[in-house]
Amino acid sequence: MNSQNRKRLRGLSVHAVLMLCVVISVFPFYWIIVMATNTSQDIYRYPPKLWFGDNLLTNIQHLFDKMDFFGSLFNTVIVAVCTTLLVLFFDSLAAFAFAKYDFPAKKFLFGLLLAMYILPTQLAIIPQYEIMIQLGWLGTLQALIVPAAANAFGIFWMRQYTITGVPDELLDAARIDGSGFFRQYWHVVLPCVRPALAFLGIYTFIAAWNDYILPLVMLVNPDELTLQVALAQLYAGHSTDYSMVMAGVLLAVIPLVLVFTFFARGFIADATKGALR
């Protein structure tokens, strides 16, 4: 009985510690909402207000005066959606070739892929900038979308899944029916690899949504920004008007986090799988 009590106590303290970690993890979201729903005066006051206020709409109004929120949102959505679709298509197609076919230079090409995985993109960013000037793409969204469409991790990830997730019997059957490579891809591979595509899609979308350094360099036109760059500039220009800036943070960040929690369980399982490979 005594040892059972002790065991229960130990269990409780484990949960207490973990709950503390959870509180620290999600506290910023709570505090962002507190700041975004109060006035800046309320936040500056001592002691500060610790609970939600009713000033959110005013703050959002100020925000819309200072920042082209919907323009930036639109740009961000375009970049994230286009990048994601391109990555899903290119990477699943290349992964099919790598997973199920032999072709000359395959080992070399795949090795190159893995080597490129570790090279930081900053090594390329100055010439990238010059190339975008030459192409006339500087300041446009394709300057962000096209380079991001080459995603080595995605090919690696899709290949792993395609090897086991696409049965050879199905491919053979399709071949007997006279399907070539691309027909097999479309009718056999794509339906089979949907779970892996889901993870890669969410991953790419979030990464594109949150990207900062490339848009910072490429989007030279102050009227055409993504949300991250626009938010950073808003903060740089109005760092004392917290409640207005936080309203922007709230609108730009919280929806993505909420959507993420919806897919989170499967995504996290896949993310650890990807890491442990």
Partner: protein
């Protein structure tokens, strides 16, 4: 164990480490190669024009399939990276003529006190964030692994920081650590402690940036460790208990050694990402009107090497010098990763 994220075989080596991967063994896992001539079964049609093509042309669908990646990669990554090497030996402002200057940029780099300051800042911030991050992550993973309740909830709640926008988090940290009205100073004040000028002091600036990185990545690493812990067979623990090993001995004798590949992975990843901190100081001190927005705050205490690189390239348009900085820095990262790797590998050889 039913919710174990490790569905496949247990991780066996540092394969997730960047370069080793499974590069060596892509071929064996495809048993039937349709590309091979003679194995094609064509019961329906034997028309001559359907005969397999000869030579390299036979593989056109595969080459076409992998070509988008390699095309984009060559134009926007490989060529620029090599061009950056070339630039490091030039003097160029991005508009005028290039001028070959030999090793002068690197000599200047060697004598540039700001470059060394930025390196020191980067390394200090990296150590201040990575050490507590990985330690706390391991503790959290062991705790979650010791219980069966709420594990799915913990995993989601602890993972969320890692998918949150870094810009948003930097703004949030800037707000709560604000010198005058921040939440942290309000708490200190309510405890009758004096306020700390967090974003003006050389060390507290680094602490705030490190705290930000720790907040963002501890949960992610914990979940990676948790997956590793769940892959350790429970028989091992039972056998050790039979032999009379205590929990501490079990932890250091079984858990840590079996987790080593995963620890190596997290160390490498947090080295590569931690040394590349850029957004944190750039956003935090972007509003510092008294100096250049990319200077890294008061005393340049938050000036990381990548921020310095950005500053040289896109504020000063000194592209040649910036190229020298970024290549020198990349070689340094590579060196640190190799040292890390060697350290962990050597320990592995011990019985």
């Amino acid at each position: 164990m039913s919710s174990s994220p490790v569905a496949g075989p247990a991780p066996t080596g540092p394969s997730s480490g960047p370069a080793t991967g499974s590069a060596g063994q892509p071929a064996p896992d495809r048993p039937r190669g349709p590309g091979r001539p003679g194995r094609r079964i064509r019961p329906v049609s034997s028309r001559a024009r359907h005969r397999p093509r000869r030579g390299i042309a036979r593989y056109w669908p595969q080459f076409l399939a992998v070509s988008p990646y390699y095309l984009i990669f060559s134009v926007f990554m490989l060529f620029p990276m090599l061009y950056t090497v070339y630039l490091a030996f030039q003097k160029w402002d991005g508009i005028g003529e290039m001028e070959f200057v030999g090793l002068q940029q690197f000599r200047f780099l060697w004598d540039d006190p700001v470059f060394w300051l930025s390196l020191r800042n980067t390394l200090v911030i990296w150590v201040l964030s990575t050490v507590p991050m990985l330690f706390l992550a391991l503790v959290m993973a062991v705790l979650i692994n010791s219980t069966r309740r709420f594990t799915a909830f913990y995993r989601v709640a602890l993972f969320i920081p890692s998918i949150t926008s870094l810009v948003a988090i930097a703004i949030f940290f800037g707000a709560i650590f604000s010198n005058n009205f921040g939440l942290i100073n309000a708490i200190l004040q309510s405890l009758n402690l004096s306020a700390v000028p967090w974003l003006s002091n050389e060390w507290t600036i680094k602490l705030v940036i490190a705290a930000l990185m720790t907040w963002q990545w501890t949960g992610y690493n914990a979940i990676i460790y948790l997956a590793g812990l769940q892959a350790i067979p429970s028989e091992l623990y039972e056998a050790a208990k039979m032999d009379g090993a205590g929990p501490v001995r079990i932890f250091f004798g079984i858990t840590i050694p079996l987790l080593r590949p995963i620890i190596l992975f997290t160390v490498v990843i947090s080295t590569v990402t931690g040394l590349q901190s850029f957004t944190e100081p750039q956003v935090l001190f972007g509003s510092d009107a008294s100096t250049n927005p990319n200077s890294g705050g008061p005393g340049q205490a938050g000036l990381t090497t990548l921020l310095y690189f950005y500053h040289q390239a896109f504020d000063n348009n000194d592209f040649g010098y910036a190229a020298a900085i970024v290549w020198a820095f990349f070689l340094l990262i590579l060196l640190i990763v190799i040292i890390n790797w060697r350290l962990v590998q050597r320990k592995e050889r011990r019985p």
